[in-house]
Symmetry: D3
């Protein structure tokens, strides 16, 4: 019955459908292995966050990526 | 003053504007009826989650819907 | 498959177990009535938030309640 | 190490990239000033919520904005 | 830079500190393996939800556990 | 009408009531200054997360703090 929310950067860094499926399968298995949770009722939601909307160190990811170029 | 977040599948399963309004009115009334909460400050946010981004039973909803066809 | 999160004030304003059960039954039924969602996989999580930890209008609820006395 | 999530209305009320950067810088500085939190590991995520998907007082923001016209 | 939130039932079903550490290590590694995300900035928050506060199928987990006895 | 959620470590690192009030006042003012949001309907929720339940770099904060001693 666990609920998992995974937030990652989207846009040109967004995971592919296959990668999303792999994340969902992987975290569901992890909860089964570690806590014996029933996979049938484990819910996972992935949010893709635009790089303008994600900040770390007081900067948006857009600003950080631009500085790297 | 309650805050409610409702996550449902989006894409071709997304609720219509009228259904969203009905959900918001309904959950606001529920909080008033059960807990006597003031509707004026009850906040509701609906998130529509893409079917690739929602998992249950270790599969994405996209995979589950495809299996049903 | 919807996921619902309800945040309300806790402490001496916390809902009773019976009220929590009523909220969970009510919002699950609402999603079935409005969107035809399957109750069996509708997940609801209630968070009780301490009055020092909830703010509205730039004040904590503790401050607002104290002002009312 | 704090994590901050800010939800605001999107669509034609969405913040500009410059405003988002200002919010992220501002809340990161606030956490440093008040709690001495390390800006380097302060994470901020901004969600823009469509006006059909945000409710207050039992109405969607779309309904409220239409009433004002 | 991903952010992960894991909600599980608490009380007498709460994970031990060692299990929490295993979940955090496991999901951080999963994000590195699948998406090449930097573990140093991967943030994970685990919420333990009381059984009165978690609902599935329109019932609280407390009600469901009581029915099983 | 914005909604803000701030998660910080709790336990012996938990903010005092005065610091929480300062965070709530500060972030409400920030949203007014940057986006002209109405403070009266700005909602802020602070979550205090136990150090066993917060992970960064694949370790719990409890493990990281212990390593520092």
């Amino acid at each position: 019955m666990p609920y998992v929310n995974i937030k990652v950067t989207g846009g040109n860094e967004a995971p592919t459908p296959a990668q999303k499926a792999e994340l969902i399968a992987g975290v569901t298995k992890l909860l089964q292995d570690v806590l014996n949770k029933n996979p049938a009722t484990t819910v996972v939601v992935i949010d893709e966050v635009e790089m303008d909307n994600w900040g770390i160190g007081g900067k948006t990811v857009s600003q950080l990526r631009a500085n790297k170029t």
